[in-house]
């Protein structure tokens, strides 16, 4: 368990900004699910729960999710269930139980860029932007490819478009971390294939996505594309599975996801 020496509870984002500038080593408190696993001594902690960041707003074109929105809120949100085949609620629904999901926050889950994340593949399959206090707004892919700098994630903005999405995962046990996951989306003619928990962080299989996008509708061989994805991405071994098994499973999950999108 971590310990906190001093705590700040700002009410506005501009106060947050001042604090972040004043204390370069400030630690943002999300739902504390992951923080709790460490015995870190936190000199300065920042609580965002009074900054109006715990709401999901639906606008004409976007769904905006505040950083302090819990995974449970996402799971239950009508808009997120209605759009994108409910891929995001589906992805979070595998994470432990409702009580945990009522604690864990989306901001932390995205900011921390976990390799095992169920959330990142689903978000990458959508047109997702992240909003950072200092870094400003940027596409999620760009954020993920940047090295972690000290910043605060404030919002996630998803463009409402009529894409079809499938989310797939493989776990040894129900409430376990995924040993591999995949998301596939199709927006108009454009496909995106994402594979995560390799165990490295979710990544878009760019070549395979292109291959699928360029093949004429109806002539897609999902198996070939899935194979291409498994060749293009790198896989590693850890306690949950070996690299070879992950690579083989990548083919299965991607194929299933493509077929679900086409169904």
């Amino acid at each position: 368990m971590f310990t906190i020496e001093s705590l700040h509870q700002p009410q506005t984002l501009s106060e947050v900004k001042q604090l972040v500038e004043k204390y370069p080593d400030i630690t943002v408190l999300g739902g504390c699910g992951f923080l709790k696993l460490s015995s870190r001594k936190i000199p300065v902690a920042l609580d965002l729960s009074r900054c109006e960041l715990e709401k999901i707003h639906e606008t004409e074109q976007h769904i905006e999710i505040g950083a302090m929105v819990t995974l449970r809120d996402i799971e239950k949100n009508p808009a997120l269930n209605q759009w994108f085949d409910g891929a995001l609620p589906k992805a979070v629904s595998h994470i432990l139980g409702v009580q945990f999901r009522s604690c864990a926050t989306i901001g932390a889950s995205v900011y921390a860029k976990y390799g095992f994340s169920d959330i990142l593949p689903a978000l990458l399959a959508l047109d997702t932007q992240v909003e950072l206090l200092r870094g400003g707004r940027m596409p999620l892919v760009d954020f993920l490819s940047k090295p972690i700098t000290r910043d605060v994630l404030t919002r996630i903005v998803i463009t409402k478009d009529k894409r079809r999405v499938s989310y797939q995962n493989l776990r040894n046990a129900g409430a376990d971390f995924p040993l591999l996951n995949a998301a596939v989306s199709k927006h108009d003619a454009e496909w995106k294939i994402i594979v995560g928990a390799r165990p490295a962080r979710a990544e878009i299989a760019v070549q395979a996505s292109k291959l699928l996008t360029s093949s004429a509708y109806g002539t897609v061989d999902s198996g070939t594309v899935a194979m291409a994805a498994s060749m293009e991405l790198a896989f590693g071994s850890n306690n949950k599975a070996s690299a070879e098994y992950r690579q083989a499973m990548c083919q299965v999950l991607v194929k299933r996801a493509i077929e679900e999108v086409l169904a």
């Binding site: 368990m1 906190i4 504390c32 699910g33 409702v98 009580q99 945990f100 604690c103």
Partner: protein, 151 residues
């Protein structure tokens, strides 16, 4: 930090550390139904309600729930006992250590879901581990309990 917590409809003026988790605050105030089964937010034993929703008190910082309604099983004894009797008839409160958190989740589910299927129930309770019972008797008890509600 000095703050007021509304626990089981009573206001407690407390002095909590900023890194104090609600489970510890509650136990220190004598709510001994709060049990911890893990250090990693995995077991659900410590489940309480915040504004009626089930939450892990081991993972919830105490200062965050100021101004919200905290409910422990001590605060809903008649309903908890009603279900506990059904559970006991199945023998599915074996060591009983997981039961308070389990019961808090079951009653929250009953309040939240209308006519849940067996799958809905399993999904809702996925965060409540039990090492003794093997879960089958818990499911039988839940079904009996929910049937009672429909009648």
């Amino acid at each position: 930090m000095k703050l007021e917590l509304l626990i089981n409809q009573k206001i407690y003026a407390l002095d909590v550390a900023p890194d104090e988790m609600l489970a510890d605050t509650l136990r220190s105030k004598g709510f001994l139904s709060i049990r911890k089964g893990c250090d990693t937010s995995c077991c659900g034993l410590c489940t309480v309600w915040i504004d009626g929703k089930p939450v892990l008190s081991c993972t919830m910082l105490s200062f965050r729930v100021a101004g919200k309604a905290i409910t422990t099983i001590e605060g809903i004894q008649p309903e908890a006992e009603k279900f506990a009797r059904i559970l006991a008839a199945e023998g599915s409160e074996q060591c009983g250590f997981c039961s308070p958190g389990f019961i808090m989740t079951v009653i929250a589910m009953k309040n939240e879901l209308k006519n849940p299927t067996e799958q809905d129930i399993q999904h809702y309770l996925a965060g409540n581990l039990c090492r003794c019972t093997g879960y089958m008797g818990q499911m039988r008890a839940i079904k009996t309990y929910l049937r009672g509600e429909v009648q």
